[in-house]
Subunit: 226 residues, 2 copies
Amino acid sequence: MADSVEGSVAKLRFDISMSLDGYVAGPDQSIDEPLGVGGRQLHEWAYGLSTWRASHGQEGGKTGVDNAAVRESLENIGATIMGRGMFGPGHGPWGEEPWEGWWGEEPPFGTPVFVLTHHPRETLVKGKTSFEFVTDGIHPALERASEAAGGADVKLGGGADVAQQYLAAGLVDEMQIHLIPGFLGGGARLFDGAGLEGIGLERRRVVDSPTGVVHLHFRTAGERGR
Amino acid sequence: MADSVEGSVAKLRFDISMSLDGYVAGPDQSIDEPLGVGGRQLHEWAYGLSTWRASHGQEGGKTGVDNAAVRESLENIGATIMGRGMFGPGHGPWGEEPWEGWWGEEPPFGTPVFVLTHHPRETLVKGKTSFEFVTDGIHPALERASEAAGGADVKLGGGADVAQQYLAAGLVDEMQIHLIPGFLGGGARLFDGAGLEGIGLERRRVVDSPTGVVHLHFRTAGERGR
């Protein structure tokens, strides 16, 4: 990221749950089933954690290594970038009364969110979160998000296609894969085909949870990473 | 395996090196490049290990957690099953002087090897290894391998398609994935699409090597595993 945003020392990071067969959402995603068939098993380890609950306005919850992994992924984040599909369903132009997305009145971000889309739209403010709609691609979105983050890191909120585009462009600094011991057999792959083969990875840390999840933390390095 | 081979307590196991994007061989596999483009990086961690060297008739080499992972994968193996492509290149009928495969005069197996093929052929003996050619499918191959193993475990020697067929049939008991921190961007995937989604996995052990490789050891469980 330092290459493209002069003077900034912030990082572009993401964390995501992935099945052993490489899927981050199940097959047949729809409005009724936004995670796809079987996709819920990717996230079950996180629902009861205290950090996850706190980010959704709830008290209590479990602590431990899973919780520490989530907490770390939320620390020092000043802005979020996400794809159109993570904001809400549908990919056409916004209507006159555009639907306000998946996230309700109190979205769990609490930072400016930059939504990649082909269709311009006014900024939407919900609780402590603002959604800005960016139509000129991943580089301008990263510049605006970095500026909004004010020196803190920028997080990719998904989906898989957005993470893959930033990775292939050599712009991702760190990623944490929460590897789930199970198969989805179809759906959206995080790492799909050509474009990533030049990117070096340094393993930063591996945390093995009693719940079965393995948290794999990588830093990009070498030829295309920094 | 106990379900299909009465009275046997042996296990069907495999271990394989996989890139973070899920490939066990690179793109464009050929006689000159049997691991595919970039595929060598999947195996570099293993070449200098003492156990790997010993199985190829060489002395010395590195010890440590990587070596322990390889040693465990070789322990208590009484027979091996592999696909036609792991024996040697080409998929047509055997000629009158059929080519004798990739493995030379002293193959590193030292057990009976059962090669899945559509074309019958006499058993080939090379050093301490015999290659038997099985034309009637994965279940008969497993029965014959189990019998030959005499109570020891049976190992799948690859390729990805063979591992996947045995997994989808619910016949694999344990697998060890050597996860490599890198991307191949194409090639042969170990877990490719539908057929595996009913299989439960229990994580048995995670070993995090200083070389960057993460050894993930799973036992099958639940609906389709045992």
